[in-house]
Subunit: 474 residues, 3 copies
């Protein structure tokens, strides 16, 4: 135990320590460890896969600058984001020396002890880049050199890693107005990687989005429909869904601060939309409009078969200074209380009994897992629960999810795993962690006599591979 090398991840990592349970966990894990990765929801930039020669840049470009999981922790300890090379909106000076950024990160890598980011990175450095040393301030330069050298080699280009990672299908997240240029390029290129877009219309349906008017114009342009009324908005959105489907999309994604749903009359919807067009939206209008649009999107999903994902519970851009200086998605989105039982009532009463709808729910308030989400998913044919999201995509987060959800919802009302990441090289580490934690959880059921090994093997396969394919129609 004296010299357990974290930087060389253990074969039986993340398993509970009881030897009998660990044996079962290992058997189950091995049965699914090499299955292909299904990644139905994430934020990888499709540009990386559109160009066969695309490169990740420097180690800091790859692992620090785009990853708000990483830099928000350093910021919390007083390290300015400028020191980490995060670009300022005003173009003000930020650190340009990527070796220096890497050194700052490595000097503070102790901050990630016991965090998901810490274990993903340890796994990534070893498994993807073959690093044999532990990342510390002292080893930082040598590790930087090794990664930098690897990143220049063809096997470390995005498409090569896609194959090496054994990704069967990857879905990106794309604005409703996106022409899907990179997706087109991927298709045209003849490369056989299965990359699909996901339809995300928030920027046009959330009336408070900065530049909302520009987004509406972009929607008009993209759809060829002049969006100047509520009916033309609906028509343009439906049109874009047809296009996304034609490009391989099987799902949509929607974010909202709450799960509030409520149907407006056509004239109410039109009034609110016209107010917005004339620049007079208020918070209440925006809230009512999104509540209505969530229901509209459920209707469209029933009609066109696209799976509907709903992510709620985050107060975006909580830190005004960071938002003004660096923009959105800078690690300052903070969860808040959520409610589903009452908020989803209108939607579920109208569409919840319809098996043509698959509504996958994600949230950041774990107190709703056993109280609201599991009972809803365990009753309504349309409802499935997404995996633990964001801060909860972690060993303990997954354990709490499995503990609180599965007894009531049952495994088959959940949607397997997704990595939801823009950190491309962390994808295998994230899926591996899920497969290990799942195997460990099922092993806990086996050693307690709750399920037998025959069922356990089926459950491991469901959690690693089958449930997600089925839920997302992939």
């Amino acid at each position: 135990m004296k010299n357990h090398p974290q930087w060389h991840p253990l074969e039986d990592r993340y398993f509970d320590p009881d030897p009998a349970e660990r044996r079962v966990a290992m058997e189950l894990y091995k049965s699914v460890a090499d299955l292909p990765i299904i990644s139905p929801h994430g934020h990888v930039d499709p540009r990386l896969l559109a160009d066969e020669n695309a490169s990740f840049g420097t180690p800091a470009d790859l692992l620090i600058i785009p990853d708000h999981y990483v830099f928000r922790m350093l910021y919390s300890q007083g390290i300015p984001l400028e020191n980490l090379g995060i670009p300022r909106k005003d173009g003000g000076p930020v650190e340009k020396d990527h070796r220096k950024i890497w050194q700052t990160f490595a000097d503070h890598f102790y901050l990630f002890r016991g965090t998901p980011t810490g274990v993903w990175l340890a796994d990534e450095l070893h498994s993807v880049f073959g690093i044999e040393e532990k990342l510390t301030g002292k080893t930082a330069p040598s590790i930087y050199d090794q990664i930098e050298a690897k990143l220049k080699l063809p096997p470390f280009r995005p498409r090569a890693l896609f194959k090496r990672f054994n990704i069967e299908v990857m879905c990106t997240t794309d604005a409703a107005t996106d022409p899907l240029t990179h997706h087109r390029a991927i298709r045209k290129s003849g490369w056989d990687g299965n990359v699909r877009p996901t339809f995300r219309p928030d920027a046009v349906t959330n009336l408070l989005t900065p530049d909302w008017r520009d987004n509406i114009n972009a929607l008009s342009k993209a759809s060829g429909i002049c969006v100047d009324s509520y009916p033309t908005l609906i028509k343009a959105l439906e049109d874009r869904r047809v296009f996304f489907k034609s490009m391989g999309a099987t799902a949509t994604d929607h974010a909202a601060e709450t799960a509030h749903t409520a149907e407006l009359s056509s004239s109410e919807a039109e009034n609110i939309f016209q107010h917005a067009l004339s620049g007079k939206t208020n918070a209440d209008d925006a809230k009512r409009f999104i509540a209505h649009m969530i229901m509209e999107f459920a209707r469209m999903s029933i009609e066109d078969g696209l799976v509907m994902q709903l992510h709620v519970g985050s107060i975006r851009d909580h830190n005004d200074l960071i938002y003004k200086r660096f923009g959105a998605n800078m690690g300052a989105d903070i969860p808040s209380q959520s409610e589903f039982t009452k908020n989803l009532w209108p939607l579920l009463n109208k569409y919840g009994n319809d098996s043509r709808l698959t509504l996958i729910l994600f949230n950041l308030d774990e107190s709703t897992y056993s109280r609201e989400l599991a009972p809803l998913a365990g009753h309504y044919p349309a409802v499935r629960l997404g995996p633990p999201w964001w801060f909860y995509d972690s060993i303990n987060g997954m354990k709490r999810y499995l503990d609180r959800v599965m007894e009531t919802a049952g495994l088959h009302n959940t949607a397997g795993f997704n990595d939801d990441t823009r950190a491309y090289p962390s994808i295998p580490a994230r899926h591996d962690l899920w497969r290990r934690v799942s195997a460990n959880w099922i092993a806990g059921l086996v050693v307690r006599g709750i399920v037998d090994m025959e069922d356990a093997r089926e459950m491991a396969m469901d959690m690693a591979y089958r449930l997600v394919k089925k839920a997302y129609k992939l």
Copy 2:
């Protein structure tokens, strides 16, 4: 481990895997495994015990059609309730072939992997019916035959199982207006099973109950008091409590959406009641009236000694389509956030210091366990906590309850276990599960040096038998 037979439940099932802890758990479990069952709260139909020749019907009549835990899970996966033989309110066609219903259930029994229903059923089939095979689509016909044959034998009649299950006392749940005909018949029959009614007045005190007016008429008839005013309502309720006590009742049961309590003046109460009699109730009136009546029932309990149970936190009949087509209690009741600290303030300030009152609280919002319920029970002499309810009557549900409640409330401010079931043959499986999980929890305290074996044995006995008898005055 290869062929661990779930359908033959393990001797040490549900225990944590550490061998030392498991040895202690087994010793504690064995010390209470054969104690009689105290079932102070449940929904068994007393008719089953009133007629010495009553039969359970077919396997589907027994295990599927009346059990919303079972059919809501099948429904969540798109199986129409009609296919499971659930009677429609409009008399529309439903499946009548009980073998076919059983087959549908068995084909989908994998949905119950890792759920309480799954382990109860596995235990029940083996321990009550002697089934040696695992339930699957393939074994379904043979298992149906075996159960069907058993159900025709005298040892499988309700009264015989009552004795075989070693039930010392069972309390049913009965409307305030119920003439308790079956309870009378049980008493008259000379059979020595101890079956007692519980006084449940919700249908007359919740002004929004469908057919509320009919219930008031029924109360007038049952009490012989013309209920045409608030004072006569109170008098009639008090009269019925006297009658229930004379029939053996030791407790009342009250359900409310929230734990809100607030006293009305007599004239306010009278005004609301007269409005209701004239058919003009609104939601706010109903809410204020129930908040007041909960306090009135606490007063009555202090006077007549009946233990008061309060169940809160469920949004009943969330799925309108299911309610309209099949009625209430069809697996579509969904929990919602609860609050006790502020809601119970009026009641506890008036009656909470009075040891003559025993107020047993049940709820479906686990975030209140450590935050509100345990601190309240650990202070007010009148408050006791009921066991984990409904979705939480499960291995993990019990672990969370014990983890979050016991350090603050202490064991002696809890009320032991109750099964709360209408699924009669599952009663031993449910109590056995509680006794195992309790023993395992206490063993966890022993191996951590928190309690010694002398205390542990007392705690096991308290949890299995003594606390519930004391709390319910049985």
Copy 3:
């Protein structure tokens, strides 16, 4: 296992049972077990340390009468507080025979099975007083004799125990108006114990405090500034902070029902304050004023460097009868739902990015741990999380805290441990429990391959000693 003696606490108590994990836990625990105690927040009366001959009185004076953790549990089972010698505000009769009080306590010591009070007392009786018997009704008289005899000996005087307990620094909690007479006496006495005051201004900033007007007068007197306006209030508080700092204070402490913050204009603040001075405060004014003052105190902390502690979430004096008869802090403070993400928004947007501020947050609503507190602490440079508070200063409370907080906030955004106690002889037992539970938690990470032993040793040292010194600037 048959005769495991709880009253002789086990060497490996509180550790999880897996032998491999236990070995690691023991190694880590041993590396920190003998470190000095840092007690940055508590309620020990400084008078005890001001007088070198101060005595604790009888065993009941020491262990029962001042400890609301103890007597609230006895009260919950119907034992009148009068029987436990708790003084009545009206001077009415209470039990004076301390042997009888001790006997009542011992007769009911079974109520504390599995509670933190139970394990602290078992440890205390053994480790501080050398008791070799288990406390029961039968052993009560003999144990009383032994403690009583010890308490008369010089090694059991407060200052001697301070040294024996190896307390490096202890901070008391003191009203803003307190002349710190005992702290002066300690300094003058030449005794080298490091005892520091903490600035707690609640009694002057909570306008609803009974005797608020008297507290303002006391503030005028203490500061020499006539507090007759909002500006003079601010000036007087700043003046007192200077004085507290001069007496060694490094921190302030603030309690509020909620974490609500919102800045008032100077004229609004003045209006509310003048209303209060003229005796016309209402609940809304008081709420707005405290929300504003919390922000003012953050500003002062940035200016003078005092660490700011904020405790929220308790409904004080929930039981009116107990409050009227016995006063405040009688075990009848009950937690309620808390919210931080929205409530702290104004304060964090104004001051949260300023590393000169250290804002340590405490709360009683565990659902906020992973949802709000850990994400806030994992982003804002000014925020640190206090250890589990009050009811959660327990084995399970700590486990839940570590499980839910650490993955997102990281260890270095937490503030180590504090005992928050007025039960002086329980201090070593409380810190020992934290060190054991921490070591056990870290061992869980080691055996799961999440951290290596090198990191684990650093984490153990951080949790036992370094983080608290750094957070409180001690």
